[in-house]
Assembly symmetry: C2
Homo-oligomer: 208 residues x 2
DNA sequence: TAATGAATGCAATGAGCGGTGTAATCGGGT
DNA sequence: ACCCGATTACACCGCTCATTGCATTCATTA
């Protein structure tokens, strides 16, 4: 059960390969991203990749796992930083939202292109791997956010029956324009407007 | 300017090709879907495809356009049917939402797999084609929904400052679980719970 | 310095795929 | 019966790509 990964190869090379693979998988997708291109991007020989990974599929899976964990960590940090002590609910939620979508344009941006690739190939990925990703990635951040919202509800700041569902709603509303249009992620004003509108909808709804 | 499409080939063959191509493009994506497989799925010779289409890219574009128009038409119908005359706002919105996500499991289902493919390859698609798709597909349905919501707001049933944005929010909230988890689209009770929760969030929010 | 494992360059294999040419066949209209 | 365009089966070209084998070089350590 305790399968030990072969520690073959030097760690810096391995990191370079994974980083380069992330870049190309994110830009071109699994099929289009050639191993020669990945090797070039990583500044490494084609042949070396096979010293570190069994085949292309294993490399892909590794890239997903490492990237997912890193991004999930960042997200959880943002949640904790912005929603630990809340004074002005709307303002703090907006600040949280801006930090949240800020990740989409950070150096972690390629990750989300990778997610789109996964989403497209969802039929061809073994359900176990998919489940694992769900759990350690979006699942983890959603649980963390749900926990925070639950605390706020207990304090009386929010009226939440199902924290997990509320967390899902908040995440969607914050970055709504990204999913409908393709929003301009570099227009600071537009971003603030989007997040603010999302937070207000989350707090008050549109009912009369 | 008025480019006439070559009417070469028999219409039923052409329809079979487009239908088969939709199936395989949706399941396997643009790159993985081979022309031989498409031909087999359509019950047609490989060579025949090139009687109707210039190349794989043109076939893909045709599939997208036709599928998009069909689905957008269906969506607009649903909007009109459920939101023309509203008596019980929450109930009518829930019914609307159920019909809306019902499309995701209908015979139009492959379309949305195709959308995921587009979304993944968004970097490799000419922006003009992307814009066109945006406009005739989701853009059209969102405008239609926004228009309906605007009427309801004028009537005093809703308080909406930006109808387009509200429409986007409603669409997201209705099918929230599909985007976070991978929801079970065949559990009737779960679907109703999801939609109801989304509609309530849309109407009242979570604020205290 | 000797030895060992890692990395590299190069070549090659085998498969899959987009696209084309061609000749034979089919089917409806005259 | 004849015609003509559409369709088909088949063979083929050129290309890309994952994967491997092999010989060579490099770096570190004993």
């Amino acid at each position: 059960m305790t399968e030990r990964r072969k520690p073959a190869g030097q760690p810096d090379k391995r990191r370079a390969i994974v980083a380069g693979a992330l870049t190309l998988f994110a830009r071109d997708g699994y099929t289009r991203a050639g191993l020669d291109a990945i090797a070039a991007e990583a500044g490494v020989s084609n042949r070396t990749i096979y010293n570190h990974f069994l085949d292309k599929a294993e490399l892909f899976q590794t890239v997903i796992q490492e990237s997912t964990q890193r991004v999930a960590g960042t997200m959880v940090d943002i949640i904790d930083r912005h929603l630990s002590k809340v004074v002005d609910l709307e303002k703090d939620l907006v600040d949280f939202g801006l930090a949240w979508i800020g990740v989409l344009t950070s150096d972690l941006a390629p990750h989300f292109a990778l997610i789109r690739q996964i989403n497209a190939e969802v039929e061809h990925i073994p359900p176990a791997a998919l489940k694992l990703w769900q759990e350690t990635g979006p699942g983890r951040t959603r649980r963390e956010l749900a926990e925070r919202l639950h605390r706020l509800a207990e304090r009386g700041d929010l009226a939440i029956a199902d924290p997990a569902r509320a967390a899902g709603h908040l995440m969607l509303l914050i970055s709504a324009d990204n999913l409908t249009d393709r929003a301009d992620l570099h227009d600071e004003d537009a971003l603030r407007a989007m997040v603010t509108a999302g937070v207000r909808a989350f707090l008050h709804g549109y009912g009369r």
